[in-house]
């Protein structure tokens, strides 16, 4: 298989990770006081802020008797990528991302508890270095927890790609921007790892069926790893108690 070598002969990736390793994830809950819930999350150099408002009464037009309406707004900061780009809010890509976020998060939220209500989730990507969508899902999950919205399970998202070790496929977990740009397939999975269910799947290129299984199982493993990290962050946040709650630290 052609393409740049994403995997060195010693089995390390370009940035020094092994194929099954996530990038470093750092996160913090309750970074703002204004919203009902907020979180900041770094996945490698991808940095994302999430803020949650609600549940509150839904606007008449959107109201549903079935359950809470999840409203997501995804946007990228002008300075978030290497090339500065003016990004009007609500451009097509952001709209698509917003829809995907909504799909992933709605499946985690116990929507049936709040009929005729609405939850607003705002995501701002401060720096994009691959897998911004995944970081957004993970950050939103933390923000929802911070806001006290009841969840079925943690919603975690992770990407995986595939590199070749000779003729053997070797799936790569949590694809960074460099690896993404090298081409090849990138599979995004949003899942509720503790229930084992998948909330969203997206694939950037065609991938042959034979390799799908290994690639998705690696992404699922990533989601489980992320869940452990998020869970730890939540517990630490709670243990910190309320004293530091008001201090904004990023």
């Amino acid at each position: 298989m052609p393409g740049p070598d994403l995997l060195s002969s010693q089995g390390l990736r370009l940035d020094g990770r092994r194929p099954n390793e996530l990038r470093r994830i750092r996160c913090k809950l309750g970074v703002f006081t204004q919203p009902d819930g907020s979180a900041y999350l770094e996945q490698g150099n991808t940095k994302v802020l999430a803020a949650v408002y609600g549940p509150h009464q839904a606007a008449k037009s959107k109201m549903s008797t079935e359950g809470v309406v999840v409203n997501c707004q995804y946007s990228m900061a002008t300075f978030s990528t290497g090339e500065r780009k003016n990004r009007p809010r609500g451009d097509r890509k952001s709209q698509e991302m917003s829809l995907h976020l909504r799909q992933a998060l709605s499946s985690a939220i116990k929507t049936e508890l709040y009929p005729r209500s609405q939850i607003d989730i705002y995501i701002e990507v401060l720096q994009a270095d691959g897998a911004a969508f995944c970081a957004s899902v993970n950050a939103a999950t933390l923000a929802l927890i911070d806001a006290g919205v009841p969840l079925r399970a943690y919603a975690c998202a992770c990407t995986s790609s595939v590199a070749w070790r000779g003729s053997q496929p070797e799936p790569l977990l949590d694809v960074g921007h460099v690896e993404e740009a090298a081409g090849g397939v990138c599979l995004t999975v949003a899942a509720l790892p503790s229930t084992g269910s998948i909330a969203l799947l997206e694939m950037s290129h065609r991938l042959h069926m034979d390799y799908f299984e290994v690639v998705i199982s690696r992404a699922m493993q990533g989601c489980r790893d992320i869940e452990v990290i998020l869970d730890k962050a939540v517990r630490e946040h709670l243990a910190e108690g309320w004293t530091k709650q008001d201090i904004v630290t990023i």
């Binding site: 298989m1 052609p2 393409g3 060195s8 002969s9 010693q10 390390l12 370009l14 940035d15 020094g16 990770r17 092994r18 099954n20 390793e21 996530l22 990038r23 470093r24 490698g44 150099n45 290497g82 090339e83 270095d129 003729s167 960074g176 460099v178 081409g183 065609r206 991938l207 042959h208 069926m209 034979d210 390799y211 790893d225």
Partner: protein, 991 residues
């Protein structure tokens, strides 16, 4: 599980972009030494010995070698020698090498991959204790040197942790960078230059010969013969402001002081002349060129010039002969002219050749003459010159300093005695980059056992055609039979015409060669079977090529079939593709098949089937010609080879029969049918073959020469061209039309493989065959393209599992590149082998033969001897002959020699230069007193009768399915056990 490592960023400034990359440092990387008891090595992870024995007299203690990047780049041949073991290659070094020279990088990986060599690659850049950050203002090079020293120091300390006995391996840093050595010494690291180290190695004689020579820095002008090259930054700036151009340098075959370069933005190639103009560029190098103002542009000198036989020392000879050629030529012949001012990238490889021993006994400096004429001679040092003088040897280039007339190189290995068949074949294979190592264990492990038989389940999955009368027709001695045919009438009529079922059955190679196995990769890398005289270098192991895949007579074989319903006017009514099982009734030669057809007493099924096929083929062919398909010519000759010695004994004209054409027509039809089908199903990634129409400029000289003979040829379309070729007949000269076709062949482009997604549909056109789409399906045993096409077709018709690379467009593109490259090289190799055997044949004989003039040059005629398909220069001294540039004729004493003239030449072999034994052509007729060869001097030559192959009728057949459109005259060699196959080709070296 993972742990988060200290987190650092690397920044890299591009034009505007700032790139921030993550860089993880780890604490789980191993040092690879068996002497270490700190790292948690598993058994197979200790590459380096506990007690690495020293082979160097300078160091009497156990040590590992840690090597610097410059050592890998300049001394890879030393590293490839088994002498050095227990070597640490840092990641810093690997990355620098990869960046600077991919070929050397691959070789280094190979060494590291060989467990016996004990090369350990240490990932210092991600190790928490050996990673260093670049200091502000520090050059990347200095930073890397520092990283290397850091790793050396770390190893020293790391290994001493065991320390109980005080016996632990030390580290010796090998580097040719003086500054780095000095700094290392300050840090307490033992270091040494490669030269000092290797000169003190005991027990490995010959190792020293492989030492690459030290380089004189470009900025040193002492005794300089050549102007200095510009530095990379000067080149970069020059290219950016448009003063310089980047191009690939191609040396001329005929004139060692001339070359050309292809540069983007110039339609014509840039002409580079003289030592200074070429300024040490070597064929293939990427160079920076300064183009002269237009008034200094010149035309390529059409003289043939060879380097002197003697070593003139470090002097540049007179170039006046080259540079004084008239400037006043017609502007059409003028080429942009320039000079090389810098080297952007060297494309050196290893070169085969022979040692030209120095005249002084005991000298260690000798000249090496490469077999490839485009490569200059090389100065090497060896102490084994007496031994090597009679050998073919392999030499690597090291550098070309300004004060040396020749590039400097070093001896790599000996290939065998000069003249030895195996050594000569090895030279041909190496020079043409033909992979020819034995198949590896991993590849052989992919094979079925040789007593493999077809299972019942397999038969159930296929269409059972064992009861059908299928037969194959091939050249005599063919053991890799990849195609078989059948035809039978079917009841009923369409539009009142009789109908037939015709099937082409192709060996089902992909049943055995599964995607992504070692076998598949090897076949893909080889791309084609290469045929030399008396030797076949298989693409797949012999068990497959000559047995399991080969559609032998009387044996059940798996096949991929293409079956048509065809009416008697050869209209295809419908087409089916399916996998099948067949049992060939007979594996025939062309001759046997012809006899079966002609012998009216034979009324058996096979003969009936052949007659039907033959009749249909004729109709198919006529249709093709009516569409504008070209019939081009090449004289076909076969060597008779002694079965014991494999020496050629005689050549003879090859007879071409109806049956050759019969098989060819059906292979073409199958290829076209398959091409249409796969291109429909895989618009992005189908493998196809196209033949672009030649640009009109290619025809200029050809048309001029034809006009001199009174023929105005129309080359506007292939149809018009084909028609006017048919009409250009001189009744008095039966060979004339053939000659025209031979020369037309050289105006053609090369047919190439491509992936359907890369071109617009109208560019799929095959000019030579005059068909809109074409591919290769019918020879999967010996061509990898056909293997890929089989897989594509199989997945279209649901006959086989699909696999991932089928849809990979990038893979398809890189595959095509490799296929085209290998096929070209295979053709060149085949031709070189023919030339070699011709030389052997003419070793002890002299012949007088009729010849024709292919081209008139300034100091020579290019002549062709149709009988042998041999071509070469007949030199004309300028004091006797007057060259008329306008008319392209040479005149002497009223005798005018022009293109297409039929002359008689005397042919002999000049063996004075062992390396380039060459055929010498001397003029016999027309008689020019004082120049032409006097008949009386000829020692009674027994003159074989001269036959000229009439190719107009025989057309070209070469291999029945490839369409040979473009071919130079060649000699086809046939010996038992091999099938000669040659492919479409255009003149080499003109571009």
């Amino acid at each position: 599980m993972w742990t988060t490592k200290t987190f650092l960023t690397k920044t890299k400034r591009g034009n505007i972009l700032k790139i921030v990359r993550e860089h993880y440092l780890r604490d789980d990387l191993l040092c690879g030494s068996a002497a270490c008891n700190v790292c948690p090595h598993k058994d197979d992870e200790c590459i380096l010995d506990v007690q690495p024995e020293s082979i160097c007299a300078l160091f009497d203690y156990n040590h590992y070698l840690l090597i610097d990047t410059n050592v890998v780049l300049h001394q890879i041949d030393i590293l490839e020698d088994d002498a050095l073991k227990n070597v640490i290659i840092l990641q810093t070094v690997l990355e620098e090498v990869k960046h600077q020279n991919t070929a050397i990088f691959q070789r280094l990986l190979e060494i590291i991959g060989n467990k016996r060599r004990k090369f350990y690659s240490f990932v210092n850049e991600h190790h928490k204790d050996t990673y260093i950050e670049r200091k502000p203002g520090e050059k990347p090079n200095d930073r890397n040197d520092r990283a290397i020293r850091k790793a050396a120091a770390w190893y020293l300390e790391h290994l001493s942790i065991k320390g109980l006995t005080g016996h632990f391996p030390k580290i010796v840093l090998l580097t040719d960078d003086e500054n780095n050595r000095k700094l290392a010494q300050d840090d307490g690291i033992v270091c040494c230059s490669v030269k000092d180290y290797i000169e003190n190695v005991n027990g490995y004689p010959g190792l020293l010969d492989k030492l690459s020579k030290n380089v004189m820095p470009e900025n040193c002008s002492k005794d300089a013969l050549y102007p200095a090259h510009l530095t990379p930054s000067q080149i970069h700036a020059g290219i950016r402001n448009g003063k310089l151009h980047q191009g690939t340098f191609y040396a001329s075959r005929d004139n060692f002081l001339e070359g050309t370069a292809t540069v983007n933005g110039f339609e014509k190639q840039i002409l580079l002349q003289g030592h200074i103009g070429i300024n040490r560029a070597i064929d293939g190098d990427i160079v920076a060129i300064e183009i002269f103002p237009e008034e200094e542009w010149r035309k390529p000198s059409d003289i043939v010039l060879e380097d002197k036989a003697e070593d003139p020392g470090d002097l540049l000879e007179e170039e006046s002969i080259l540079l004084n050629t008239a400037k006043s030529a017609a502007s059409a012949d003028i080429s942009p002219t320039g000079k090389v001012v810098g080297i952007i990238r060297r494309k050196w490889r290893q070169y085969c050749g022979i040692l030209m021993q120095s005249k002084f006994p005991g000298a260690t400096r000798h000249l090496f003459a490469p077999a490839e004429k485009r490569i200059p001679r090389v100065r090497i040092e060896t102490r084994q010159s007496d031994l090597l003088a009679a050998q073919r040897i392999l030499v690597a280039l090291d550098s070309w300093p300004r004060n040396s007339r020749y590039p400097l190189g070093h001896f790599v290995r000996a290939l065998g005695p000069i003249g030895d068949k195996d050594a000569e074949n090895e030279v041909i294979l190496l020079e043409h980059d033909v992979p020819h190592a034995r198949f590896s264990e991993a590849v052989l492990a992919c094979l079925r056992p040789d007593d493999w038989t077809i299972t019942e389940e397999e038969i159930k999955k296929r269409v059972d055609l064992r009861s059908i009368c299928v037969c194959s027709v091939d050249p005599p001695g063919c053991t890799d039979i990849d195609d078989a045919l059948h035809a039978r009438p079917i009841p009923g009529t369409t539009n009142g015409l009789k109908k037939y079922e015709v099937g082409v059955h192709i060996a089902d190679v992909t049943h055995f060669v599964r995607p992504n196995t070692a076998l598949d990769k090897e076949a893909a890398s080889r791309s084609t079977t290469v045929y030399l005289v008396g030797k076949r270098i298989d693409m797949v192991p012999d068990l497959l090529s000559s047995n399991l895949c080969s559609l032998r007579g009387g044996e059940e074989r798996l096949a991929f079939s293409c079956v048509w319903e065809i009416d008697e006017n050869a209209n295809v009514l419908n087409t089916k593709f399916h996998k099948s099982v067949i049992k060939s009734r007979a594996a025939m030669t062309y001759e046997q098949a012809q006899i079966a057809i002609d012998d009216s007493s034979r009324q058996d099924e096979v003969a009936a089937s052949l007659r039907t096929l033959n009749a249909l083929a004729k109709t198919l062919k006529q249709k093709r010609l009516d569409n504008g398909a070209l019939l081009l010519a090449s004289p076909e000759i076969r060597f008779e080879v002694d079965s014991e010695t494999h020496e050629p004994m005689e050549v003879q004209a090859k007879r071409i029969l109806d049956t050759n054409s019969m098989v060819e027509e059906f292979m073409l039809l199958a290829n076209v049918s398959v091409a249409e089908h796969i291109a429909g199903e895989f618009p992005q990634s189908a493998l196809l073959r196209r033949h672009p129409a030649p640009p009109p400029a290619n025809f200029n000289t050809f048309l001029k020469a034809a006009a001199q003979q009174g023929f105005e040829l129309d080359v506007s379309t292939n149809k018009a061209f084909s028609k006017s070729l048919n009409e250009a007949v001189l009744p008095s000269r039966p060979f004339f039309n053939t000659l025209l076709r031979i020369m037309a062949t050289r105006c053609m482009q090369q047919a190439v493989y491509f992936s359907s997604g890369t071109l617009a549909q109208e560019d799929y056109y095959h000019y030579g065959l005059a068909c809109p789409i074409y591919t290769h399906f019918t020879s999967p045993i010996r061509r990898y393209a056909d293997v890929v096409v089989h897989r594509l077709l199989a997945s279209c018709v649901g006959a086989d599992a699909t696999h991932a690379s089928i849809l990979d467009t990038k893979y398809a593109v890189s595959l095509c590149e490799n296929l085209n490259y290998r096929h070209r090289q295979a053709q060149y190799a085949g031709r070189a082998s023919v030339a070699l055997n011709t030389h052997i044949l003419f070793k002890d004989r002299v012949e007088v033969e009729p010849a024709v003039v292919l081209a008139v040059k300034r100091n020579a005629l290019q002549v062709l001897i149709p009988k042998y398909g041999l071509e070469g220069p007949l030199y004309l001294p300028s004091d006797k002959f007057i060259y008329n540039e306008e008319e392209h004729v040479q005149i002497c004493n009223g005798v005018v020699l022009r293109t297409f003239d039929e002359i008689v030449v005397r042919l002999s072999l000049d063996s004075t230069n062992l390396q380039h034994r060459k055929l010498v052509f001397q003029l016999v007729k027309p008689v020019i007193p004082g120049f032409s060869y006097e008949e009386m001097e000829v020692e009674a030559v027994d003159q074989p009768e001269i036959e000229i192959v009439d190719i107009t009728r025989t057309k070209k057949r070469q291999k029945k399915d490839d369409v040979q459109i473009v071919e130079r005259p060649q000699v086809v060699i046939d010996i038992s056990k091999k099938k000669q196959e040659t492919k479409s080709k255009k003149k080499k070296g003109k571009k």
